[in-house]
Symmetry: C2
Subunit: 692 residues, 2 copies
Amino acid sequence: MNMNLPRSSILVLAANAGFFAIVSASAQVPFSLTSFTPSEREAYLAAEKTLLESPNTDRLRETHTTLAQETHVAGTPADARTVERVATMFREAGLEVQIHDIWPLLSTPISASVAVVTPEYLKLDLTERPLKEDPYSAVNNLTWNAYSASGQVTAPVVYANYGTKADFAALAARGVDCKGKVILARYGGNYRGYKVKFAQEAGAAALLIFTDPADSGYTKGLTYPEGSFSNDCCVQRGSILTLPYQGDPLTPGVEAVEKAPRQDESTVALPKIPVQPISYAAAKEILSRMTGPGVPDGWQGGLPFAYRLTGGDALQVRVEVEQKREIKRTANVIATLPGSEFPDELVILGAHHDAWNHGAADPLCGTITVIEAARGFAALAKQGVRPKRTLVFAAWAAEEFGIIGSTEWVEANRDKLSGHAVAYINLDMASMGTDFGASATPSLRAVIADAAGVVPQPGVDNSSVLASWSSKSPDPRMPGFPAMGDIGGGSDHVAFLCFAGVPSAGFGSGGSKGNSYHSSYDTLIWYWKTVGGDYQSAQLVTRMAAATASRLANAPIAPLDPGAYGAVAAAKISQLSPEDAFAATAQGEAVRAAWSAWWFRVNQDASALTHDARAKATQSLLAADRLWMDERGLPDRPWYKNTFSSPDEDSGYAAWTLPKLCRAAERGDPKAKQEAVADILERLSRLAELPK
Amino acid sequence: MNMNLPRSSILVLAANAGFFAIVSASAQVPFSLTSFTPSEREAYLAAEKTLLESPNTDRLRETHTTLAQETHVAGTPADARTVERVATMFREAGLEVQIHDIWPLLSTPISASVAVVTPEYLKLDLTERPLKEDPYSAVNNLTWNAYSASGQVTAPVVYANYGTKADFAALAARGVDCKGKVILARYGGNYRGYKVKFAQEAGAAALLIFTDPADSGYTKGLTYPEGSFSNDCCVQRGSILTLPYQGDPLTPGVEAVEKAPRQDESTVALPKIPVQPISYAAAKEILSRMTGPGVPDGWQGGLPFAYRLTGGDALQVRVEVEQKREIKRTANVIATLPGSEFPDELVILGAHHDAWNHGAADPLCGTITVIEAARGFAALAKQGVRPKRTLVFAAWAAEEFGIIGSTEWVEANRDKLSGHAVAYINLDMASMGTDFGASATPSLRAVIADAAGVVPQPGVDNSSVLASWSSKSPDPRMPGFPAMGDIGGGSDHVAFLCFAGVPSAGFGSGGSKGNSYHSSYDTLIWYWKTVGGDYQSAQLVTRMAAATASRLANAPIAPLDPGAYGAVAAAKISQLSPEDAFAATAQGEAVRAAWSAWWFRVNQDASALTHDARAKATQSLLAADRLWMDERGLPDRPWYKNTFSSPDEDSGYAAWTLPKLCRAAERGDPKAKQEAVADILERLSRLAELPK
């Protein structure tokens, strides 16, 4: 008997041995290899071995050094040079390359100034100090939050902690009026765009967002350049869009080609107040002059005095921001390796190429793993070993402004992706240490764990990433399996996952200690000091990306595990709607059992399956992922069409698994909750009936 | 049927209703009133009502203002004046007063200086700034740690976090050598004496102990005088003795009379290195100049830079301390109200009178409640209502130096106390808010809860301290009963509890936010700002002390509940030696059941009991508490003779309940653990057989 069951199913079956006591020696074949015939499997494993040997640390370092040589904000000449550099690398590897031009609305900083005006005049320094230890830091880049409104405000000050919904509610409850004030909020606790949104809703006139030393400065350790944590002049840049869609602000749902029909900018909810990020040295000059009442528990930061809610009338701060919003050209770089057997089926690896500054960490330590993985596959192809499915390697444009490049590409190619793309794997800023982790659509988790089983863990003899990962971070429901996070927003997988319904994952390997996020110190010097110059991390991540993509691209039937949706959905319903736990668990178990039986059946005699039968099986699997799509979209967010996964609506930080249920629970709306549960149970029921 | 059972027993019986389903209306009579005949009870409650009405907030404020008018360190002329002031207050209330002179070894500060010597010279300011908002702060008292060695050291610096045993072990593990160094340790985490002990053991040449803003400065809220938390120049004074006994260092176990035989000072383990407390402004000057490696997790404090383990060789700090150790006179003030029926049986209330500075909070907000309670009892006595047992009101000397006054008095009176003192209640720094709390010997917990049932909770209509306390801090084992802490070291109950075996409790009412502990800012102005000028807290505590003492002094049989030892011992054994949980629980239950039955029997017809039978019953109860005493003392600490309660040996912070077991567990010594459990089980077995 050939036990060709998904790994997760095998483990669940073993755990539920009272119901299905199925155990055999052949259960040792990892799930992602079960649809191969024995001879195919042998050939595949030989090629995979070559692929895993290919990522080269010297070459990774060289690629990194080339791409991080200059600051390259989207839409600038350096951005165009970066596009060419990436394209050249893909071409030199031997891949077909498309430069995919787009024309989104971007913003450009013109000037900014912040000053204490009364009781004494003090202009604050908004620049980041060049360091003799780090020549890359000598660029004197402007500090800014993209898409800030332009304007000038002089007003008293209110401190709003992290500027979350709860923080503004606490201010209101204490009678602190934000109307017409300059709000000072620290980074952390939510996506910065929501600080702007809530400040605007509270009537604020301007917003300063600062890095507090309690969150990422000296309280965490020695600061850059002696250590790796934020020094006193370090500033976090970043976009502050909070639109109900991703991508170009003016072309929701369609590609931002040069002549695209565009929304009128005045009808789009772009930020309406001046917003400026500042360092903790600058924030200190304001916070230390405040005279109002003390702060609630949890609001005190790491500056050396008691924080206060208000500055008092004597303290006036001026904020002046000038930015230009304009349509600019930028481009995705798309490299393709056509599949030999199922060329319409796609496996896509991607990371963005744009950065706020040099971007050694964000994004390039991930981008280089996409390029290095592409080189490995291309080299194999030159030896005649082409993937069965088409591999796409993408370097996305303008992610930092609002996940723009990848979104425009998905919007342009939705029909080709939906129902044909087997997986998208995102590698943004992916190599920050050797503690590997991933968040993923449930159907992708089994193949990712399988890949981790064949990638060595650096520094540990005869050990795999899987062993290290699952011991540091075990899945509480499946012993021996690593915990994978739910996937939500925040990077280039969003359009794939939420707009096109492509099974998606985000890879990231962490463990290094420090912070240079979106600052001028995100340089090669900082990266080598913090993560290391040996590129062990990037090599590990390249291997993980290559192994996962290779199994996805080469398995006769795409190794997706829709049965895993059952347990994830049941757990979420049990958490948010305990009264439905029994029904959800039963329905979740039915989904798992149905797909286990399906896999068992189709794999029973892999060698008897024709090419078309294999293609049809993959189509069945993809239909399961697509079953969660709803063309009407989510409530108030029609662009988001995936009812299983979305970014959350209130902080931008969390992943919402089963977003309609999450929203109803968050809003305390029992009717919406009931409807959401009914919809999920109905989809689970269809998912259990789907396998034919 | 008259259900005269201890409250705790009633509740346990109710909880264990399967075993003893005894419920009746008369079970509503609180435990501490069950040994009265109905007519005695009625008369008692009328008198108690008058007593509870007596504490007067204006008089409390006046007493406080008188005693906190000047700084009055033990052994100084102001100390002698304070003794006279307290004695006068007791005399004016109409009580017999004894000035109990003692001649302990005290220490006196002569001078101290701390300076950064290299790479630049900077003398640190060791003084606390006088504040125009607080005239009492203008005294410019020296900052010092009593019993420091005298000497001068210039050496490199090591930062030792809180200076706990674990912190010094962490330094050793990182290869940081403390030999010959100036150690900088922050307050908190243990009793300051242990910082000295561990620093000496690590070979340190000197120790600076500083207040870190992360622990009690601006990170907690606004600082004094605007707020109530430690400002940048605030210094915590305090003794650094860690002798294996309390009281005068030269006369362990015996009274420190003028001509007492004394130990040779050179044979007593007094501190051998210079030790000086400093402010965070001063500490900042040293810590900010350190250049060594960063600190482990949890070691970073609230100063605005990353802390480091070592200063590096370039940083040299000089510490110079001169103190004089000499035998000085000071005195306890003992006021007595003789009992009408059982004059040999004592109920004692006490708090110390000495302070490091003005001492408005520590100790006087507790001391004034002892005096105010005495006034209430004395007023009742003038109306002919004298307590059945003798009440003693004590103001202790030189607590701050090493719990000296109370210890010398107990050492002088051990035979009169042991087996005759029904209870000692300590009220050090007791009125710091209106959230009442207590730690107590198990046998006292029932009467304390009963007292809390008749004292109103300020600001809550028709509510009692019991309702407020048990809802904020419920005993997890007994619903409706407040959690009471285990009693250990740290104040004037120690000799009563650990040397004489007197059932003891410590009362304290908290909830105010701030810190002026042992600093020049512990003044009336600080207290009024922080706790309030309305003396609601002190009135509450006086009522709690009066009600508890009154029931202890007036119940025909002393309302002690030895049965409560059973559950406390069983819980402790179950926690530290789970394999003995079954035996301990059974034995604990036997103790409870035996004493419940005993109380039931003796109270069955309270009116039939003669005076002598009542006295005999009280003797039986006291024998139960005495059963935990062991004349050989605890391992390495023969002065501590109570095997149920002691201060802990490694931090001085925690109470050790069943100290031999705690020590064995702490040391990881299975043999000692086994012996300790056997000893406890044997005592529990005797305790269950004791009631006759």
